[in-house]
Assembly symmetry: C2
């Protein structure tokens, strides 16, 4: 049986959607045991359900708590779930709490894979060609060395292969030009390391304007640039959508057009709703760590649970260990 710890309390919407997601998930995943952390009085409907265990945790890491609050919140549903993973009681953890707090919990209470100097955050972005692209690091680190970026490439590559089923993932380095000598010393050195890395298919540098095309499968970047790029994508996409809506609604003719085009526009809105992509994955830890989005509905949360399940079942962490050893 695969074992997952599920933090039921830390999301914006409370425990109810997590409870529903767990009940639905367990029916379609007969090889999984869930350890649901949270206030036991809120988890009554999970009592006596096969393969679900309630782990009482009376404290909560709120969305507005500082990220370092996790240090003293060892009785919280979030930290308890992470510690269970570290103790080997479960193989993976899912939470829809604050990304910062959840990542910090993992940093503090969960071992990293040996040889990984820095863990990082990975986001999967929707792309024009619908393939999606993994980008890492998107903000765990304020700066990185070339060796760390090489580690990120290895982890992203294994993820793309095993979870996204890309047989030979194209790995690119986010940079300010396509030529080998672009960027500062770190980027130039990273370019060398990635070129020499026989375990990945490095296709060179990629610029900001190509991120969402989907021509590559994994984009490697330091946490600073990656965070700027991710948030700029999010901000620009949502602003352009908003402006299109407002622009159309500003004239009668436009309004009628908007009404007719509504189904087309909505389908696109969903595609570019970065929130629906499920938030960030925490890479480099000895267990699968998946962050469901804070405003997740039960379907999104169940998707996040399934992702953790896939990572555990495909044994992605062991493969990363191996990949990082032979680098």
């Amino acid at each position: 049986m695969y074992k997952l710890a599920i933090d039921a309390m830390s999301g914006d919407l409370g425990s109810e959607i997590v409870v529903k997601a767990c009940l639905s998930f367990i029916q379609s995943h007969l090889d999984v045991e869930l350890y649901v952390t949270g206030k036991k009085e809120e988890l009554k409907s999970l009592e006596n359900v096969n393969n679900i265990h309630i782990v009482d945790a009376q404290d909560i890491v709120g969305m507005n708590d500082g990220i370092m609050s996790v240090r003293r919140k060892k009785e919280s549903s979030m930290v308890k779930a992470v510690i269970m993973a570290n103790d080997g009681q479960v193989d993976g953890v899912v939470s829809c709490g604050s990304t910062g707090a959840f990542y910090t919990s993992a940093m503090l209470f969960l071992k990293r894979i040996e040889g990984v100097e820095k863990s990082c955050l990975m986001a999967v972005l929707p792309t024009y060609n619908n393939k999606g692209v993994c980008m890492l690091d998107v903000g765990a680190n304020a700066e990185n060395t070339a060796e760390q970026l090489n580690d990120f490439a290895i982890m992203g590559n294994i993820y793309a292969k095993n979870i996204r089923h890309v047989s030979k993932p194209k790995v690119a380095l986010l940079n300010i030009g396509t030529e080998e000598k672009k960027g500062n010393e770190v980027h130039q050195h990273t370019y060398q390391l990635l070129s020499q890395n026989e375990n990945i298919h490095f296709v060179g540098n990629i610029e900001g304007r190509e991120i969402l095309l989907g021509d590559v499968d994994v984009i490697v970047t330091d946490g600073f640039s990656g965070n700027i790029a991710l948030k700029t994508c999010e901000g620009t996409a949502s602003l352009v959508m908003k402006m299109i809506k407002e622009s159309m609604l500003s004239s009668t003719r436009g309004k009628l057009g908007a009404l007719l085009a509504k189904p087309s526009l909505y389908s696109l809105k969903d595609k570019f709703d970065y929130k629906s992509v499920g938030g960030a994955l925490m890479m480099g830890f000895t267990k699968a760590v998946v962050k469901a989005h804070g405003a997740s509905d039960e379907i999104a949360f169940e998707n996040a649970m399934d992702l953790a399940y896939q990572m555990v079942k495909q044994d992605v962490v062991s493969q990363m260990k191996e990949g990082l050893e032979i680098k």
Copy 2:
């Protein structure tokens, strides 16, 4: 009389649009003399026009020439125009050649303002609130020190005041979070310098998702992050537009909607066409240096000329000298 050197040859569309722009510009700007560099045989229609001087230059820096080609192309229209500025024959230069080559020409052949360690590229981006925002550096440097970022803030501030007529420009630092301690040492140190700089109105850090809102007037960033941010904005905006178009055209109902909404959508497309914004400005040099976009039409080129004229007339360079002295 204000004097501008105009590179007539380096754009994608050849000398014709530049010639037209010069003829139109000179009629509405009676206090300007133009020195137009290029193949004299292509500039015949400028002969004997009041206040226009043809400067024969038989070589061309093509859009696909390497940026270092300018080193040996001293007889090109681009380099000749830049050298005229350095020699004091003109007060400003306008070119619609390759940004990289034009910037390199300025680096090689034009003096920097004393005390400016690094020159940089500034872009003016369209914003949601129509105010626009200046961002610098957008890619001249692969990394920058805090002192250099402080210089960029001073230059951006003076530009926003004098050319964009913002009485008290809000200056922000591009970072991965709003808190003072975000980012690496350079960003943290820059935050301190900007906070202590009494000649600017520093409003703190800004994240990638807020760039296009227009809540601030000047965004200061190192050239690496700035280039990633600019290109990610461009790429995302154009891709979302493209996807909306395709999504609407994929159904009959959507097609009808698109037809009706066309005027609204077109007005927005223009707004977000970064090319129409006129390309990048080169900051930190002793003369006004304006890059018109390579695919400029004559109106865009004339706008770029007017920008150089405004910079010269408002004596922006002198004010930058002063601002950088008292920093």
